[in-house]
């Protein structure tokens, strides 16, 4: 019985956020109001590219996985679901795992400042943009 209680205690200790699909959908027809040029590139530059950039070596990424680079539309579209589940918001979830609490002042630098955080509207726009962008034709 004591072991069971101890087990429940251990299980209850984990309360970290879980990456969750937001189930955001792209309006039909696609209004083309959220695009890489009008939204995506700016969002990634402000909130992500200090660590998620193809120009950074592994030791400069402050923990960001290799091949998770968001400095081009092509590399964003490698893993749009992943971005949605870690930073997006929609009908099913609001994911605030990313950006983290601390960020570098310069790309690849030490974590010496608080990370800017997207607004709820920006997170919702991110998920809708991704939902639209994956359906659009691309010539990569």
């Amino acid at each position: 019985m004591r072991l069971v209680l101890l087990g429940l205690l251990f299980a209850g200790c984990t309360t970290a956020s879980v990456p969750t699909p937001t189930k955001a959908v792209c309006p039909t027809p696609d209004p083309m109001t959220l695009t890489w040029d009008s939204f995506g590139q700016g969002f990634m530059t402000e909130f992500c590219n200090d660590c998620h950039s193809s120009t950074l070596s592994h030791s400069e990424r402050n923990g960001a996985p290799l091949f998770h680079d968001y400095d081009t539309l092509m590399t964003v579209l490698y893993i749009p679901e992943h971005i949605d589940q870690w930073a997006g918001a929609g009908p099913a979830a609001t994911n605030t795992i990313m950006p983290p609490a601390r960020c570098p002042s310069t790309p690849g630098g030490p974590l010496d400042r608080n990370c800017p955080q997207p607004t709820q509207q920006q997170r919702e726009d991110l998920s809708v943009w991704l939902a639209c962008e994956v359906k659009r034709p691309h010539m990569f």
Binding site: L3, L6, G7, F10, A11, C13, T14, A16, S17, V18, P19, H58, S59, E60, R61, N62, G63, A64, P65, L66, F67, H68, I79, E81, H82, Q85, I97, G108
Partner: protein
């Protein structure tokens, strides 16, 4: 139990303990337990210190860990508990934290002079942060079967088991490679291990080990090999081990020093 046999059992414990606070440890616990023919309880405390480097598809870095453990045995039965505490450096980010905690129980089914065999059930609890790559993020249940055979001066131990995360396996989550970085496992897998040790006399043993996991469904096959030198007395034993990742990127190389004190 003679000192030599007891040390042999401790050596087996030392091999599996630092690898995975789960199935692998069970094999060692079994080996130790199988040597405990007395009706009185035996308690042991252990500590392993490890340092590893890894270079997988998505992460490059290293970690250092300290794993305290507690084992109890009485007759055919035994139980164990352990939790690793880590410093993890992954792609330039430094983190400190606990890994997943393990609780286990085991029983010997066969107890002959040379052959001992039994079953075990270990459970890992998600005390480690999945997002920090220190834990699975799920409770894992790992039943296993084990056997040891001894023909002095050689001791051979094998085990086979099954590990499963106690969650819906159909989620199809994003693949970040072997997870967690400090002790990767698949959400559902078959596990195996094999070890052989030779007594050198004067309480010293040398041996080789291999262990791994084969995913059921999605995942990746994992294999680890290593060599071990151990020494000690019936009361206290210490081992030094060098391990290499053979498949599945669990790590490139890892060094482990472990010691156990029995009461």
């Amino acid at each position: 139990m003679t000192p030599g046999r007891r040390i042999g059992a401790a050596v087996l414990v030392g091999w599996f303990a630092p690898l995975t606070p789960g199935v692998a440890r069970a094999d060692h616990d079994m080996a130790t337990m199988s040597e405990n023919h007395q009706d009185r309880s035996e308690l042991s405390v252990g500590l392993s210190v490890e340092a590893a480097r890894f270079d997988s598809t998505y992460y490059v870095g290293s970690y250092q860990g300290v794993t305290p453990s507690l084992d109890w045995m009485r007759g055919r039965f035994g139980a164990s508990a352990a939790i690793g505490l880590y410093h993890l450096t992954e792609n330039g980010l430094s983190n400190y934290g606990a890994g997943d905690a393990m609780l286990g129980g085991h029983v010997a089914v066969v107890e002959e002079d040379a052959l001992h065999a039994g079953v075990a059930l270990h459970v890992m609890f998600p005390t480690g942060s999945e997002l920090d790559n220190l834990g699975m993020g799920h409770t894992m249940a790992m039943p296993s079967a084990w056997a040891t055979w001894r023909a002095s001066p050689v001791t051979v131990a094998v085990s086979a088991g099954y590990g499963r995360a106690l969650v819906d396996l159909g989620g199809g989550g994003h693949d970040h490679g072997p997870m967690p970085l400090v002790d990767p496992m698949n959400l559902q897998e078959l596990t195996w291990s094999a070890a052989a040790d030779v007594d050198l006399g004067r309480g010293m043993q040398v041996g080789g080990r291999a262990r791994g996991g084969v995913p059921i469904g999605t995942g990746r096959t994992r294999a680890i090999g290593g060599g071990r030198l151990a020494w000690g007395s019936p009361r206290i034993s210490t081992g030094l081990e060098i391990q290499v990742g053979l498949a599945g990127d669990p790590f490139t190389i890892r060094g482990v020093v472990d010691t156990a004190l029995r009461f």
